[in-house]
Structures are given as C-alpha cells and as structure tokens.
C-alpha cells in the first residue's frame, strides 16, 4: 500500500470513530448535534497537551482524555434537557464556535499556531506509524463498534430509543429523560474524544481550524449518509465521504460540485441512509437471504 492510501485509510478510520460517537447522540438518542467537531477537538487538544506539556504517554493520557471529553460532553449535554430540535441544533453550533475560539485565542492552547511536536504512540516498544497506525485505528474502531453494539442491546440503549421516538411517552414508562440523554451525550462525546486523541498523534500537529463547524457538518453527513441509528452506517458514511473527494480529484474544479450532487441524490432517493430502513442495500441483502424484501 502506498503511503497516500494508508493516510487516507487512517483518517477514514478515525473519522468513523467520531461518526459512531455522533450516531449514539443523534441516531440512538435522537438529540440533534451540529457541534460534534468540538469534542473531536477537545479530545485532540487534551491528548496533545497531556503528552507534550504534561509529559505523559499516549496510553496513560487516554483515560484522562476520555474522562475530560465525557465530562465536557455532560455539561454541554445539559442544554438538550431544555431545548428541542432546531433550538438544540443552533445551540450546539454555538458550542462548536466557542470551543474553536477558545483554542484559537487562549495562549495555553497554542493560539493560532496550534500545537506541534506531538509524540508518536509507542506500543510494545515500537513507534506506531504507517500501516501499524492504520491497524491501531482500525482496532479502536472495532472496539467502538463493539461498545455501540452492546449499547443497542442494553436497557440503557432501549431507553434512549424510546426517548428518541417519544419523550413524553417514554417518561410515563419510567424512563428518566435527564439520565439517558446525558448517558448518550457522555458516551458519544467520549468516542469523539478517542478519535481526537488518535488524530492528534497521527497528524502530530493540530490547530483549531481542524475542528471547526465544517468538520461538524462533515461528521453529521457521514452519519446521515450511512444511516442514522444503524450500527455500520457511520462507518460506511465515513468510508464514502473519505474516498469520494479522492476519486474525484482529477476533476479538480468540479470535484465539490459532484460531491454535493451525490449527497443531494442520496437525500432524494435513500432518505434513510445507505444502510437505513428500506434502503436498497438492505432490500438486496434480505432478498439474498431468501426472505421477503
């Protein structure tokens, strides 16, 4: 594999982890968030600072990073208890902008220069790079997917589904909206934090602009494209949106145009996402299995 395709592959795996996190919040618990890149960034900055200024290794820093992003996620999840739908969307956009400007203007976070010289991850005495970093990211992605799968099977997951479907009915059935919305926020943001930590040690240089609002929209597009609330949807979404810009690269000027057109076609013809309810992929799959489409 060329260095180029390894880099693309690693970034896709990292973004898939972040998209899985957003899927927990948006797809499972039904709370819209347009500021998920903020938590991606918080994870990246936390890991970068802990390993450069803090002198910790990636592995000792990781639990702290997950704790920090989860905790911030808890606080920023609080608005979701009072706000619904479009108001929550706007609030989360605001949160994204605030986090980015804090990174950009507070000298502690490196200001506009960002943070450089982030050490490589060391595993079994080896410095992880190239293919091994791709494998490490894929391993973390597998772990994330396993947690998502377990979550959908747990009572907490079911409680989140019920809240997504109808909050009033769910609460009259003993589901505490406060508790389970916050659970989804903590879990989802911690996953973004994990993605952020990997990103920081892969790029080894980060700056605030990497985690702006466009990145949030990109992550949300991955989730929507792949299929909200499905297990594999975010991974497929990250794959498609990661590869397409590269495939269209020879078209230079028309690249973004084609990309946008494809997204619009998706929304028109597969509104539930590639793996969503009644999608072509799902119908074909059930036909192959011999069941009714």
């Amino acid at each position: 594999m060329s260095e180029y395709s390894i880099t693309i592959g690693t970034l896709i795996a990292i973004q898939a982890i972040v998209a899985c996190g957003l899927n927990v919040i948006v797809g499972y618990a039904g709370q819209i968030s347009l500021g998920h890149a903020a938590f991606f960034g918080i994870g990246a900055y936390a890991s970068a600072l802990l390993t450069t200024a803090g002198g910790l290794s990636f592995w000792t820093a990781l639990p702290v990073v997950l704790g920090i992003t989860g905790l911030v996620g808890l606080f920023l999840g609080l608005p979701s208890l009072r706000l619904r739908e479009d108001f929550l969307a706007i609030t989360t956009i605001g949160i994204n902008f605030i986090v980015v400007s804090v990174f950009q203007y507070v000298p502690f976070f490196g200001g506009a220069l960002g943070i450089g010289g982030i050490p490589r991850i060391v595993l079994f005495g080896e410095r992880i790079r190239g293919v091994s970093f791709l494998l490490l990211s894929a391993g973390f992605l597998a772990a994330t997917l396993a947690i998502c799968w377990l979550f959908t099977r747990s009572w907490s997951g079911l409680a989140c589904f019920a809240l997504r479907e109808d909050e009033t009915a769910a609460s009259s059935m003993g589901v505490s909206p406060v508790r389970f919305k916050l659970t989804a926020f903590i879990l989802g943001t911690a996953m973004a934090g994990l993605g952020g930590a990997l990103y920081a040690h892969f790029m080894r240089f980060i700056s605030a602009t990497d985690f702006g609002f466009p990145m949030s929209v990109m992550i949300l597009s991955m989730v929507v494209l792949g299929g909200m609330g499905t297990l594999w949807g975010p991974v497929l979404g990250a794959l498609v949106l990661g590869i397409l810009p590269e495939v269209f690269r020879p078209l230079t000027d028309y690249r973004m145009f084609l990309y946008a057109a494809l997204l619009l076609m998706m929304i028109r013809f597969q509104p539930g996402g590639l793996l969503g309810e009644n999608s072509l992929a799902r119908q074909t799959f059930s036909r192959l299995k011999g069941g009714k489409p």
Binding site: W155, L158, D166, S171, S172, G174, F180, E277
Partner: protein, 255 residues
C-alpha cells in the same frame, strides 16, 4: 379499605390567569373504576397530567398509597405504580410492537444511579412481553413496527404498555375515542378484566354509554371545578350535570 389508593386534596392548576383546575378533591379506592367526565375544556386531562406528574399543581396535595406525590416527574410516578395511556396515542413508531412493551417492562431494569448495561434481549423479558400482548390480543402484530398499526390496535398497545409497568393504578385518557362499535366492546371487556386482575382504574371518557356502564363512580368536572360525584344513576339525574352538558333550559329528558 380505610385509606384511599389515590387522593386529591384541593388541587388547583393555574396557567397564567386561567384556572384549569380549581380546588378539586376526590378519592379513588382500591379496586375501583372511577370515571372523570365533563364537557370539553372542563380540566379532565389537566387533572390526569397532575396525577401522572406531567404538571406540578399550583396548590393542593396528591397522595398515592399514602405518599405525597405532587410534583414528582412522570418517570418517578411510573416507578411508584401509575401507568397511563394518552388521549392522542403516542407509540414509539419505529420500534416493533414487542419492543414498545419491553420499554415499559424495563422499569426495574434501567438501573438506579448508573445506567444499566444488562441486555434487554433476554428470553424471559421477551416472553413476559408476549404474554402481555396476548392479554390485549396483539400477539400476532408483535413483530410489526408500531407506526404501522391502525388506531384500534394502537389503543390496545397503549394499554399493553401501561400494563407492562405492573401498575397499581391505571389512568386511561379517552381510550375509547375513535374506535368502532365492536372495538369499543372489546376494549370495555379488557378494562373490566384489568380491574379483575387487581388494578384500580381512573378513566376519562366522552362516550356516556361507556362511562355509565363501566364506572363504579363518576366525578364530574366543569370549568375546572368539581360539579358532582357519585354513582352513575345519581349523576345521570343530577340537574346541575345536565345543565353543564346541555346548557340552561336543557330539559328533563337528558339521559
């Protein structure tokens, strides 16, 4: 039988200047079917919402099984043993009928402080939920998405979900509206059976024939106040009730 299962004392609920409920008091005894009736806008649903925890009453006291419950949030009321249905049905449309019931049967499984990690896909959970579905006659639809069911089945699903909570008290908000004649008869039968299984019932009903036939006692609300309380026959002949429904000058032939 000395202490009522549910008692409302001087409950008032004000929305700005509107007195939706004005010092309403009544008791519901164990094993009873109590009907809440009254013209549109009388405060019946508001009354339900204060009992089920959706609203915190402006003043007054609600006791359920001897414990003060006014102001507790809905999920706490569910945990105490109050199940409810909604006037406008609220299924979880993208979950299957079975999953809809399992959500309610998970009451004790959600974990007290730390959200539960245990699986809800166990066989026992499934069988219990299927049993409840069989009780309301929805076992064939168990695998269907709830959003695809017609209204009659949705009303039964609401009942099944409320039953899955294993409640002491069931609040039925117009569980008969929009149903066909034969569906009403089935639903009546279901409500009777539910009472026989030891669950007390408070219901709101517009269909007078159903309310009179089903309830042991009726409480009549009008403009947020309690107008009358008593056995169906007494209510039927109460001149004040007749006036509330038919207006002044409404004549003797009201029933």
């Amino acid at each position: 039988m000395d202490e009522p299962l549910l008692s409302l004392r001087e409950i008032s609920m004000h929305f700005g200047g509107l007195k939706a409920l004005d010092r309403v008091s009544f008791d519901l005894h164990e094993g009873e079917i109590l009907g809440l009736i009254g013209p549109n806008g009388a405060g019946k649903t508001t009354c339900f919402n204060t009992v089920s925890g959706v609203y915190r009453p402006t003043s007054g006291e609600i006791r359920f099984r001897g414990k003060r419950t006014d102001g507790l949030p809905p999920h706490r009321m569910a945990a105490l043993g109050i199940g409810r249905t909604f006037q406008i049905v609220r299924p979880f449309p993208n979950l299957t009928v079975l999953e809809n019931v399992i959500v309610a049967s998970g009451l004790s499984c959600y974990g007290r402080l730390i959200p539960s990690c245990r699986s809800w896909k166990g066989r026992k959970t499934r069988e219990e939920a299927l049993e409840i579905l069989a009780r309301v006659g929805l076992e064939i639809q168990a695998g269907q998405k709830a959003g695809l069911l017609p209204l009659g089945n949705l009303r039964r699903l609401e009942l099944a979900r409320a039953l899955a909570l294993k409640p002491h008290l069931l609040l039925l908000d117009e569980s008969f509206s929009g149903l066909r004649h034969e569906e009403i008869a089935q639903q009546e039968e279901l409500v009777r059976k539910t009472r026989e299984s030891g669950i007390s019932i408070l219901l709101i009903e517009h269909n007078m024939r159903v309310a009179m036939g089903l309830c042991d006692r009726l409480v009549v609300l009008d403009h947020g106040r309690k107008l009358a309380e008593g056995k169906p026959e007494a209510i039927r002949n109460n001149p004040e009730v007749i006036r509330a429904y038919l207006g002044k000058g409404g004549s003797a032939n009201a029933s």
